[in-house]
Point group: C2
Amino acid sequence: MRNSDKTREKLLSAATEVFWDQGYSNTSLRQIARMADVDVALISRYFGGKLKLFEAALTAGLYWPELIDPDNDPIKVAIAKYTASSSEDHKFSITRMIVMNASDPQVGDMVRQTLFDTLVAPLESRMDGEHGAAQLAMFFSVIIGASVARHSLLMPGMAEVDADTHARQLRYLIDAALQFEISEEPTVP
Amino acid sequence: MRNSDKTREKLLSAATEVFWDQGYSNTSLRQIARMADVDVALISRYFGGKLKLFEAALTAGLYWPELIDPDNDPIKVAIAKYTASSSEDHKFSITRMIVMNASDPQVGDMVRQTLFDTLVAPLESRMDGEHGAAQLAMFFSVIIGASVARHSLLMPGMAEVDADTHARQLRYLIDAALQFEISEEPTVP
DNA sequence: AATATATGTCAATGCGTGTTGACATACAGG
DNA sequence: CCTGTATGTCAACACGCATTGACATATATT
């Protein structure tokens, strides 16, 4: 049975899994095709090239409707997303996606732009107070840093601890970030 | 005039600059050779291959004797290093080196190992208290996150501010990280 | 059943890469 | 000056990659 929609789906599914795991430049179309059990040539035919396929896989993994739902606290949703992806073997982690594609300018820009549109901007509109932007930036920086330190660098004191302990560390830093207020120049006595 | 030491130096210098800026996989030997105004073949001859050259460039940029000096507060040195590399157009930043090579397993491991040996281990031996390891890990995670958020993601609230403001943000998070203590399970009322 | 279109298969092409070996040339020691 | 070694130059190789076009076969339409 021949079904183009099905093969499109198989390709996108395999691409999503492997792009989110290995990044753009470290995955070949042949690998994706092998995974999906589909001929390589069909990728270019159906998606129009590697970059287009990546774009599709990127947005496919970034569909987070909970974040937009006005009934939810977006910060809590973001934290929940992080801890979930963290326990699931670090799959579908947006921080991983960022880091793994930071070296490629074209792809990196695409990831950053998508992240900004789907995550930063919605959150930004909900922050209030004079230092809202800074607090949000520090919130993100804390999450990214924790992700890299725990999963990439395997920092002792953060990598080997269980998920609950790590969540407590993260929560601590996030609370600090969200309470940030610009301090004046330190007063010299 | 022919001088092998000089060409070695030129190659290592160019390699250091470009590897620390672009990462391993995004740099070609031909680019380095062009920069150093040296034939490509000499790289393999003098350094034994791309990976060996990268290793040399890595350690060349990671020579930080101030960190070992027992008269200095290592945390302060690390902060100074970060802010210095941050203002100098983000050159020779170890956090950038980590992020830019995270996608390549082999190179990533090398970077992580080198970072651990030259930075984490010396600092770890100086941390005291029950939560020293966790505090150190959180210290690193804060620095890495801030670097990525400011220089890669260009997060509003962190990217456009001047160096002093950013230093204050960083300092705030670092202080929080270093004051971390494991909190017990939240008491349910 | 005959034809047209959609889908899949295969091989080839061009590109960039790191690495190697043969050759040329400059320099040093006799 | 002559010779041997160090250094530099050049071309070629083998590899993996994304992409393309020609062809084959299944499905749909008439």
